[in-house]
């Protein structure tokens, strides 16, 4: 199973529709401070069903919606779509291509979907639960977080290793 692409609009600083493709090998995301690189990591976590504000650097869930600038108004919705290649059948669905999407409206309403079929947040979690993706703390290392691998309490480190088991 691997990522084909991620597309977003209205997600944090990505006011306009933006899409990134991922190759089979190593992909790098580069650019100046504050450009939006870490926001892409947040978008990937978020569309996989992340519920912790801290994990995506927000204080409230609506913080992910484009807040506007001096030149542009805020938007009313944030949407992220993740396209995955499932030819190895790792995801428990009968599709070789799987698209997961998540939307949040400023009203607080959320929408989730798998292959354009609306579903609940739990269904998104269940889709990935045996793959080690998203949940495993070692499949995403946030900015400044690498030091934490060494400085966590030793019980937390054991819990992290329990996830590996």
């Amino acid at each position: 199973m691997h990522l084909n692409s991620v597309a977003m609009r209205g997600f944090k600083s990505f006011a306009d529709h933006t899409e990134l493709e991922f190759g089979h090998g190593l992909t790098a995301i580069v650019g100046p401070n504050g450009a939006g690189k870490s926001n892409i990591a947040d978008a990937i976590l978020w569309v996989l069903g992340e519920q912790s504000n801290r994990a995506i650097r927000t204080q409230t869930s609506q913080d992910v919606i484009f807040a506007g600038t001096d030149e542009r108004s805020p938007l009313g919705m944030s949407e992220v779509r993740l396209l995955l290649d499932n030819s190895d059948g790792m995801l428990p669905v009968d599709f070789t291509e799987v698209e997961v999407y998540r939307r949040l409206y400023r009203t607080g309403d959320s929408e989730y979907g798998i292959n354009n079929s609306a579903c609940r947040l739990r269904d998104v979690h269940d889709l990935f639960v045996d793959t080690g993706v998203g949940q495993a703390a070692y499949s995403l290392v946030g900015q400044g977080e690498i030091e934490a691998v060494l400085s966590v309490r030793s019980e937390d480190r054991r819990e992290l290793m329990e996830e590996v088991a």
Binding site: L26, A28, I40, A136, I146, M161, E162, A165
Partner: protein, 162 residues
């Protein structure tokens, strides 16, 4: 469950030794339980010594050495249970040239099993990847993606650092 954890734990300890020595060109490691009688309640302590050094605690290691040790542990876990993909945000920030090269070497090795997406300012890391996305804010506060050539991105990254 305890049995399964102990098996995994020993695998991680073994993998950690090999990833650490690959990243440091030698050295000694130990991963041990603080409470071996109660593994599922226990803590896990890390001991790691770069080659030739004798310091007793991880806290005495330098910033770059700690980052490399953390990477060794991360890759050890990925070796025992590969994740289909892995997003790494500026984990090479504290590394000098030599260490960046070693990190890149192990990253390429693991990229055979795991799809890595790395966010970086480091031109040496950029050298190693197959695909590069540039993110900019041409309009203040609005992000967009642009295609970048490796040479230009490295130049920018180098300009970034100088």
């Amino acid at each position: 469950a305890e049995r399964e954890f102990m098996l995994t734990f020993e695998q991680i300890a073994k993998a950690f030794e090999s990833t650490f020595t690959a990243l440091f060109g030698g050295g000694t490691t130990d991963l041990y339980l603080t409470d071996a009688d109660n593994p599922l309640e226990s803590g896990v302590e890390v001991f790691a010594q770069p080659p030739g050094k004798r310091q007793k605690h991880l806290s005495l290691l330098s910033g770059g050495e700690r980052a490399m040790t953390a990477l060794a542990l991360l890759f050890a876990m990925l070796e025992v249970k590969p994740s289909p993909f892995c997003v790494l945000d500026e984990i090479d920030a504290a590394l000098d040239a030599t260490n960046t090269d070693r990190f890149v070497a192990i990253l390429k090795e693991f990229a055979k099993r795991t799809q890595f997406i790395v966010i970086t300012h480091n031109p040496r890391t950029m050298e190693a990847v197959d695909l590069l996305h540039g993110i900019t804010m041409q309009e203040a506060g609005v992000s967009q993606r642009i295609s970048v050539e490796l040479r230009d991105a490295q130049e920018e990254g180098r300009r970034q650092q100088e």
